[in-house]
């Protein structure tokens, strides 16, 4: 009888300890996503990519930390695309939800606001949604940018334009938000240095839906090329209205919007439009670890029914890189993981990543390259082809597009 009771006791204690032991082996990653509000579309893609990574890591047993395996748990809240709640939410993630690591929100503005909190508490945050480099000039130590910073976005487009027409006139028209402004300011300097003429440089309020007058102004300026836009809504509208008003520009590069599959619904308005992209399913990077480009694309498509865009790829990559750092460090201690992130210089399906460790720009992405994609007509259907860098292109640039 006592023996049986001892056995029961052991079993009961075991039943309590064992799940606790498993429960203790979790890594909590906190984040906010813009489930509502203007940034909703792109933020959702990032979340999808991140969730795919989490599901794959957990299916494989979890992140290997020394001899143990840690499952990944996400805690996320809706930031409503507004900065007001971001700080409160990230504080909650760190203090109440006890997140050991963080993923940043979508968009540069929100990332900057969140970084104030994460830096105060010294929690590592992976940035897959904030491309503006100004955030990294404030003395941050634990913020790591995995995507190419804003200043390099339009380099490819300018290179292509210069190659086809060294005297082209460019109209820069962009949304009045931190990201687009940073992109265009850098692009303008680059264009002028390359000998191209800047015919127009104007920003519009982000919520603009009526571009008629601006487009008339572009036509009046005699520009051959258009570069600019902002995020999905205004970018898509610009493309449509440029087409409706028969602006017939020779080269149109729009930020962000043309990268999603939805853009093809614009039909003729989408044809020829190019988009600077952080990643395309056609890139040819050879990964040192993690899935290959083809594997990632296939698995994402299987889960979500569409091909991944660069937001989704970035969402996945931030998890992958964090995982690599943790596994290399053999620990989830912040300083050890940070040391590995600082030393990181790897190539994955996402591309080449290396973080700047100079205290003036700590965490800024130093190695990742942009590509340029263009919508082209192929057998009567619109397809997104990679056209630059030429070494890795899947199709030739179409120029002029009209």
């Amino acid at each position: 009888m006592i023996k049986r009771m001892n056995k029961l006791l052991l079993a009961a204690v075991g039943a309590l300890i064992v799940p606790a032991a498993f429960a203790a082996n979790t890594i909590t990653i906190g984040m906010t996503a813009s489930r509502t509000g203007a940034l909703n579309v792109d933020s959702t893609y990032v979340m999808h990519g991140a969730e795919l990574w989490r599901d794959e890591v957990n299916a494989a047993g979890g992140i290997k930390v020394g001899h143990k395996h840690y499952k990944v748990k996400f805690v996320s809240y809706d930031d409503q695309s507004q900065g007001g709640r971001v700080q409160q939410l990230y504080t909650r993630l760190i203090l109440q939800d006890k997140a050991q690591f963080l993923f940043g929100p979508y968009s540069s503005g929100l990332t900057a606001t969140a970084a104030v909190i994460t830096e105060q508490y010294g929690t590592i945050m992976m940035d897959s949604g904030g491309a503006e480099s100004k955030i990294f000039e404030l003395g941050n130590k634990y913020l790591y940018q995995i995507l190419t910073s804003a200043a390099h976005y339009l380099s490819g487009s300018i290179a292509v334009l210069k190659e086809h027409d060294p005297h082209a006139k460019i109209a820069f028209v962009y949304s009045d938000d931190p990201f687009s402004k940073a992109v265009v300011q850098a692009a303008k300097k680059e264009a002028e240095a390359a000998g191209l003429t800047v015919a127009m440089d104007e920003s519009y309020p982000p919520a603009t839906t009526d571009f008629t007058a601006i487009i008339n102004k572009i036509i009046s300026s005699g520009a051959d090329a258009f570069m600019g836009g902002g995020h999905y809504a205004d970018g898509a509208t610009l493309a449509r209205q440029l087409h409706d008003q028969k602006a017939n520009l020779k080269w149109v590069s729009i930020l962000v919007a043309p990268d999603s599959a939805q853009f093809a619904t614009l039909g003729a308005g989408a044809n020829g439009v190019s988009v600077p992209s952080q990643w395309e399913p056609q890139v040819k990077y050879k990964p040192e670890f993690g899935p290959t480009v083809a594997q990632f694309t296939k698995r994402y498509h299987a889960k979500y029914g569409v091909d991944p865009d660069y937001h989704a790829a970035g969402g996945y990559a931030q998890g992958l890189l964090l995982q690599h750092a943790i596994e290399e460090a053999g620990s989830i201690e912040r300083d050890k993981v940070a040391a590995k992130l600082n030393a990181m210089d790897v190539t994955t399906f996402w591309g080449h990543d290396k973080f700047d460790t100079d205290p003036g720009h700590h965490g800024l992405q130093a190695a990742h390259d942009m590509v340029l994609a263009q919508w082209q007509m192929k057998d009567g259907k619109l397809v997104k082809e990679m056209v630059w860098p030429t070494a890795a292109a899947t199709a030739k640039v179409v120029y002029p597009i009209h």
Binding site: T36, D78, Q82, T91, Q120, L138, P178, P205, P206
Partner: protein, 322 residues
């Protein structure tokens, strides 16, 4: 000071003490973060209430004071190296002066026209600041963490800002109370009842309106400076958020316009409700629906807000809670 003998004076004191002690005990940063927002809401609602509940003028764009105060403070600190206290005070004074200037123009308008004009001012200023280079234009101003060092580092600075905000909140409540009990306040209430009659009876309406409009700008501007310094980032859509402005009106109505404690209770309740809705997975989509339904119910069935309802049930309460 007859005020010291009135129980309500001590009620306000108790509220301030509660705000100070609750998160300090146990170093509860999470609680502090949500109380910061509550303190901001209370400050905004109390000051709005002086125009809305006393004088009967709906300032739909009251957030413009908060935003401008934030911009002045952040700009003075980042571009000119001012200290926190100096910058916030300077911001407060500057915005009050601007309010006096705007007031000269729009205070002659009545009712809905005044409300619309305040929206116009908020939108015009937001559009202007978006184009104003020295204030960062549409990109806004980022504050370097180095600015937290003179205050003892980020951790300590956040606590200091919290206490300062509670101080501003307390001042708002006391100001609201003092005004209500003064001859000035009586004049405002008369204006709120019937402006023409009040004028005929000798209340200097234009002067009083200008004073209260300017006064109602001071503390929100200082609060704005503190709040945006804490956020270390200010940009036009966050600083001049019309939705926040209208939420402040909802809060004042919810708690009971025209009372001193009303906006405080309303702000606290609304902030808790919002905070809960935001993190609740089922309801985060519905917070607007709930806020709207709540407001509709109040407007249609209980226009005196919570305090109005409480006063009707327990008239003796008036002596303790104003």
């Amino acid at each position: 000071m007859t005020m010291l003998r009135r129980p309500f004076f001590w009620v306000i004191g108790a509220i301030i003490l509660a705000f100070v002690l609750a998160p300090t005990y146990g170093n509860n940063v999470g609680l502090r973060e949500s109380l910061v927002l509550a303190a901001v809401y209370i400050t905004l609602a109390s000051n709005l209430n002086m125009m809305l509940g006393y004088a009967g003028y709906v300032n739909f764009g009251s957030i413009v004071f908060f935003g401008l105060g934030g911009y002045f403070c952040v700009w003075l600190m980042s571009a000119h190296g001012w200290s926190l206290v100096g910058a916030t005070l300077a911001g407060g004074v500057a915005v009050s002066a601007l309010a006096l200037l705007f007031g000269l123009g729009i205070l002659r308008l009545r009712g809905a026209y005044f409300a619309l004009a305040t929206i116009g001012i908020n939108e015009a200023i937001m559009a202007f600041v978006s184009n104003f280079g020295p204030w960062g234009g549409a990109s806004g101003i980022y504050l370097s963490p180095a600015l937290f060092q003179p205050l003892g580092g980020a951790g300590k600075a956040l606590w200091l800002i919290y206490y300062l905000l509670v101080g501003v909140m307390g001042l708002s409540l006391y100001l609201s109370y003092a005004v209500k009990r003064s001859k000035f306040g009586l004049g405002l209430l008369a204006i709120g009842q019937n402006e023409d009659a009040a004028a005929v009876l000798g209340v200097p309406a234009p002067r009083y309106k200008a004073i209260v409009y300017s006064l109602s700008a001071l503390l929100p501007a200082i609060a704005g400076g503190l709040y945006f310094f804490k956020s270390a980032f200010i940009q036009p859509p966050d600083a001049f958020d019309l939705q926040l402005s209208t939420e402040v009106i909802v809060i004042a109505m919810l708690g009971g316009q025209g009372t001193v404690i009303g906006p405080a209770i309303g702000a606290f309740l609304y902030e808790q409700l919002r905070g809960w809705l935001l993190t609740s997975p089922t309801f985060s989509n519905f917070q607007l629906v709930i806020a709207g339904a709540l407001l509709l119910g109040i407007v249609l069935f209980a226009p005196g807000g919570l305090m109005g309802w409480l006063y009707r049930r327990w008239p003796r309460l008036r002596r303790f809670l104003e």
